[in-house]
Symmetry: C2
Subunit: 202 residues, 2 copies
């Protein structure tokens, strides 16, 4: 199943190019397991979720450690029927039959609670979109219920759910939302915003 | 039908707060027709598409005229079954029966070609998500076909379509994608990025 993301990193600083270039080294340990293409709006990362989410986490932490207000924005997708399959995306994280919501929520909560801390606090919000089924809201409500018990839940907002906590737990929660909700082989996307060092943060 | 957006404006500048505050006046003509709430990640705008898209366009143009590299990111949604209805969202732009794709594409192309120019060039990319139906890809392919004939099509990318042109035509294309594709009363979202003054733009 094809999976990947279009990502953009926004350092709110005159030296945004320097902050971005300084953070890119964080992707080096993942480069042989991702296909990467950059243009003036975003960078495409094609690969399986078990590579994608740690890579995004490490990139964001590296940028946030500049001390500048930094935002990572990402459109993350799996199973889009319009995308060709790619061997680099092979993953054990999805594709099998989907069991009842209860055990999936429990597994997701456990994963987030066991996520390694990065020491970098962040705020985030995201929307989960499940396509091609008539019962997409059941999966979305199940995911929101998992988030409320995940330890990084901040609050529900219109159109999205807001998270707050250590960057490690936040990216683990995004990974779990992406892999455990929606049909195993279905078309599922996330619209993600992660923010650090905002002067407006409360 | 409930409709609105979570939006964020990212000026890549040390004085990002000044650029944002300087642009906010562009929303003044629309404030009585929108519900607006801000936190440290995004600003919620609740209202109908005929107010929302011009408001976003004018906000973006005002920020871009600072000359700084600015990005507007937005999660735009209509018809989410989890949102309560709100009288401020009443619109003639959707809700009726959906006819064949051909005339919808033609109407969308005409609207974009007639959009007033702002004089501000921009690049953009977005994804259209149609939920709750089994034939969502037909609507997405129909929308992509419209975009290719819209005058602002740049190229197809994985997970999204890239646009380039005058900011007026770009926001018109986003408006048309949002209102004319997917079921009239259905759950449809856009994941939008609009960029100006990028040093990487070609």
């Amino acid at each position: 199943m094809f999976s990947g993301a279009q990502i953009s990193l926004y350092p709110m600083a005159d030296d945004f190019v320097g902050v971005i270039l300084g953070a890119l080294g964080a992707l080096d340990p993942y480069r042989d397991r991702l296909r990467i293409e950059t243009d003036d709006i975003s960078t495409l990362l094609v690969g399986p979720p078990e590579v994608l989410f740690p890579a995004l986490r490490d990139l964001f932490v590296a940028a946030a450690r500049s001390g500048k207000h930094c935002v990572l924005s990402a459109a993350i997708s799996r199973g889009c029927p319009g995308e060709p399959d790619d061997p680099i995306c092979r993953s054990d994280a999805f594709g099998g039959p989907v069991g009842p919501l209860g055990p999936r929520k429990e597994a997701a909560i456990t994963a987030v609670r066991n996520a390694a801390a990065t020491g970098q606090p962040a705020a985030a919000q995201f929307s989960l979109y499940v396509m091609g089924t008539g019962d997409h809201m059941d999966e979305i409500y199940g995911c929101i219920d998992f988030l409320k018990q995940s330890g990084v839940y901040d609050r529900s907002k219109n159109f999205c759910t807001k998270l707050r906590g250590d960057t490690g737990a936040i990216f683990s929660a995004l990974n779990e939302a992406f892999c455990r909700f929606g049909p195993g082989a279905g078309h599922v996307t996330l619209d993600v915003t992660v923010s650090a060092n905002s002067p407006s943060a409360v």
